[in-house]
């Protein structure tokens, strides 16, 4: 296990190294001058220019510049946003929790809806319920999220007026940001309208979570169903059945344990898709997360922000991937040997 972990960590290090080299080279690959791309300062007078060139080692070799770049990253000096002239790290700290919040709720929904439905579909795959669930899953899987999200807004927000059309919280509620996670912030705040604010935040969450959860949920249903059917054919299930265990006992003790193992890995694989979909969801539902921030930055040609945003999201995806991989191995001794 230790060797395995070391191997994984080494891989992680290599990937991050490659990523940082790529991010660094973006400073040169983007239009405009590297000094501006790295610092994000909109106006550079001669003295700052000189100072920064020195600090960034822009007069030295690429290797020296790269090392200076890594040092700045490490010390949290990510440069300024060209658009707002605010430190990028501060801006990311404001928008990233919103994305994580939305994504984690969608993931939760995909577990709590996807896994039971997948099992249900596997119990009698040719029955009415099994067929219906499969049909729903394939439909949900094929829905383009931008269309599905807009449809939800059209029907439930504009048409029926049940839910707000976008945002995280009604603008009249004033909740001081502490963690950046809205529900937690509301619970931590000491405003008189906490209950109402919580309700309002949940109402704001529902449609975007539904839109974002559709894809991972349907993937989860299909995956769990197939895994269950697969496991059901294994000889140890037959043995368990032959031992005289009831159907439920077989399902819990032998079926689920083995079928859910690949699901852990699936989370890691789905995570990058989920982040991509979250970006689209954020744009559709005006959700102030990192996806919308990054897309706005692209519109504004805000190169330092694009660079930082890409880096954060890639590191996030790679880390989650790696973690689920390790978790999967931890629970599945067979995989360690490979």
């Amino acid at each position: 296990m230790t060797i395995y972990l070391l191997r994984r960590l080494f891989l992680l290090g290599t990937v991050l190294l490659g990523l940082s080299i790529f991010a660094f080279s973006l400073g040169y690959l983007f239009p405009g001058e590297p000094l501006q791309n790295f610092s994000g300062l909109r106006y550079l007078d001669d003295s700052t220019r000189e100072q920064l060139t020195l600090a960034y080692r822009l007069d030295g070799s690429y290797l020296q510049q790269y090392l200076a770049f890594i040092q700045r990253l490490w010390h949290g000096d990510w440069g300024l946003s060209l658009a707002s002239q605010q430190p990028l790290l501060t801006e990311i700290r404001q928008v990233l929790p919103a994305t994580l919040e939305l994504t984690s709720y969608a993931l939760l929904v995909s577990f709590f809806v996807g896994i039971p439905l997948g099992i249900l579909a596997a119990i009698k795959p040719d029955g009415v319920i099994g067929k219906a669930i499969s049909a729903i899953a394939i439909t949900g899987y094929s829905l383009p999220i931008f269309w599905w999200g807009l449809l939800l807004i059209m029907v439930f927000a504009v048409g029926l007026g049940w839910f707000p059309s976008g945002g995280r919280l009604g603008v009249l509620y004033e909740i001081p940001p502490q963690t950046g996670f809205m529900l937690i912030d509301i619970l931590l705040s000491d405003v008189s309208y906490r209950q109402a604010a919580l309700q309002d935040a949940l109402r704001h969450l529902l449609l975007p979570t539904l839109a974002l959860a559709t894809f991972p949920t349907t993937v989860m249903i299909r995956f769990v169903r197939d895994a269950m059917l697969d496991v059901w054919e294994q000889s140890y299930i037959k043995t368990a059945k032959a031992k005289g265990l009831s159907r439920l006992q077989v399902l819990y003790r032998h079926g689920l344990r083995n079928a859910l193992l690949p699901v852990i890995r699936q989370i890691g694989l789905q995570f990058s898709t989920l982040i991509t979909l979250a970006m689209l969801t954020e744009v559709i539902f005006s959700w102030p997360g990192i996806g919308r921030w990054l897309i706005d930055s692209i519109y504004q040609r805000n190169f330092p922000a694009i660079q930082a945003g890409l880096m954060i999201i890639s590191v996030l995806v790679i880390t989650v991937n790696m973690l689920t991989e390790i978790l999967h191995t931890f629970f599945n001794p067979l995989a360690r040997k490979r």
Partner: protein, 536 residues
């Protein structure tokens, strides 16, 4: 399956718990959905209508106000004023006991005094003033009316009296003081900021005397104001005012329909039909003091030839443009001045569409075979021209009828304006929104020789005869006499045609039927002081 039923239970709980109109804060709060973020919070330093709408009437007061109906001047922070016999000295008596905002960053120790007014205007006037250079020493409105050349001194002659010395009589002076840009700031606050070494904060964390005070600003998300409890006109009905920043037109409309916004700025004209049928929202409109026009670069051939300009004007179908671009939500323009102005000249005929005559005129001017030209179409949507590209396409088709081959040019907005001031265009579709009720505001910034140099004269037209007319109009304060000068100026423009005025568009806003006390001010930003919510 039980999870699904849990989920649906949750839905029911959410829906049942609070039906959409009865949030506890909704009673006392108003949400205005704006089309963009404010640049900062000082009206002196902006011209953008978006910023003015958000900050000016809400946070600040002016010495004078303009009556939105009649365009007359009303007393505001100045309770009365006297003009000296030679027209070069104005003295204002200030209202006593006007309180500044108490916020989390400033606590006023005294009410409004003459020193505050002196501070406000000296910041603009005196290059060595400690606050003059804050924000880059840019005061666009005051620079456009040549304020520093006009006002020689502002001084306090008593604790509540202020005197303005002018270099020459100027009948538009009082109107300028009543614009949204002439907001009165707090000298005490400025002094504290200077002492603590943070002068720039004066424009980002504002203090004024207006009906609401500043609470927070999240860039591109929202601006939050609270009610000013000691407002001198009395308390506003709304305890909280939030400007939700929603740049997307369709989304703003959707938020109005879902009641997330109480008022939305600039609904798209094409969507108005959609909302007029709904009982929960209504539409307000008013002809604004603006004009959309097509200006010719009169420094380039063949546009220096008046016959060519007349021919081009005759060739275009203004009625079709009003229909297709403004969806008939605009008044056909005869000249640059809107019909609501007191100096409007009704003698000027409506625009004539006559391609036959246009061809004859072109032949007389020596361009019988037509020529090539370009039409610059501004890339942004403005009230005075909601869709310049579409208008350009219509013009292109009309011009083809008389043998003129027009190509359409557009750049990103900043580059567009820069290249325009350099005179790179043949003709341009752009417009102007007035900042005050004075007719001078339509003539001098648009068509004077000074404006041709500073760049706001898009026709680059400089005519000494015309300049003399509009300058003489300023020297007299007799309104009848002024009017006769402006009537003549409009007639002169009609003959010379440096630009073809297209339309005076209506300013439109859509609002929830529960909201009362809001109207459109044709002279400036929206005022939400009297907004209140009524149960239908």
């Amino acid at each position: 399956m039980k999870y699904l039923s849990c989920l649906s239970l949750l839905c029911v709980a959410l829906l049942g718990g609070c039906s959409r109109d009865q949030g506890p804060l909704r009673e006392g709060g108003l949400v205005y959905c704006a089309e963009g973020s404010p640049e900062h919070f000082n009206p002196q330093r902006v011209t953008s209508g978006t910023t003015i709408d958000i900050i000016s009437q809400q946070l600040y007061d002016r010495l004078l106000d303009i009556d939105p109906q009649s365009g007359d001047l009303l007393p505001a922070l100045a309770s009365s004023w006297q003009r000296s016999a030679d027209g070069r000295t104005y003295e204002f008596q200030l209202r006593p006991d006007v309180q500044f905002h108490q916020t989390h960053y400033f606590t006023p120790s005294r009410p409004l005094q003459a020193a505050d007014v002196v501070f406000t205007f000296n910041r603009i006037l005196q290059p060595d003033h400690p606050f003059h250079a804050v924000g880059g020493a840019v005061y666009p409105y005051f620079q456009s009316v040549d304020w520093t050349a006009l006002v020689t001194e502002v001084r306090a002659t008593g604790p509540l009296t202020v005197q303005f010395q002018l270099s020459r009589p100027d009948s538009s002076f009082l109107s300028n003081l009543a614009t949204d840009f002439a907001a009165i700031l707090s000298a005490e606050y400025a002094g504290q900021l200077l002492a603590s070494g943070r002068p720039a904060q004066i424009d980002s964390l504002p203090v004024g005397t207006g009906p609401f005070f500043f609470r927070e600003y999240q860039k591109d998300v929202l601006v939050r104001f609270y009610r000013h409890a000691n407002y001198w006109r009395g308390e506003a009905a709304m305890a909280q005012l939030v400007f939700d920043i929603v740049p997307n037109n369709a989304r703003r409309m959707a938020k109005l329909l879902t009641h997330e916004c109480d008022i939305i700025a600039y609904p798209r004209l094409a969507e108005l039909a959609l909302i007029t049928e709904r009982p929960d929202v209504r539409v307000q409109e008013s002809t604004s003091m603006n004009v959309g026009f097509w200006a010719f670069n009169t420094r380039k051939a063949p546009f220096d030839n008046v016959k060519v300009r007349q021919a081009l004007s005759l060739a275009i179908n203004q009625r079709a443009i009003l229909q297709a671009v403004y969806f008939n939500q605009a008044t056909a323009a005869r000249s640059v001045l809107p019909p609501t102005s007191w100096a409007f000249n009704p003698q000027i005929p409506l625009h004539e569409y006559n391609p036959q005559r246009a061809r004859e005129l072109l032949a007389e001017a020596g361009y019988g075979n037509g020529f090539n030209m370009n039409i610059w179409a501004m890339p942004v949507q403005r009230l005075y021209n909601p869709n310049a590209l579409k208008m350009a396409e219509l013009l292109q088709a009309d011009l083809a009828q008389i043998g003129v081959n027009a190509s359409i040019v557009s750049y990103e907005w900043n580059a567009f304006r820069r290249r325009l001031s350099q005179g790179e265009h043949d003709s341009v579709l752009i417009g102007w929104a007035a900042d005050n009720a004075d007719p001078d505001n339509f003539f001098r910034p648009l068509l004077s020789c000074a404006a041709a140099d500073s760049g706001s004269n898009r026709a680059l037209w400089c005519d000494p005869v015309f300049d003399r007319m509009i300058n003489q109009a300023l020297l007299t304060s007799d309104q009848q006499q002024r009017r006769s000068y402006y009537l003549a100026a409009q007639q002169y423009l009609h003959n010379e045609l440096p630009l073809v005025a297209m339309a005076h568009s209506q300013r439109i806003q859509a609002l929830n039927s529960q909201v009362e006390g809001v109207s459109i001010n044709p002279y400036g930003g929206i005022a939400l002081f009297q907004a209140r919510r009524v149960q239908p």
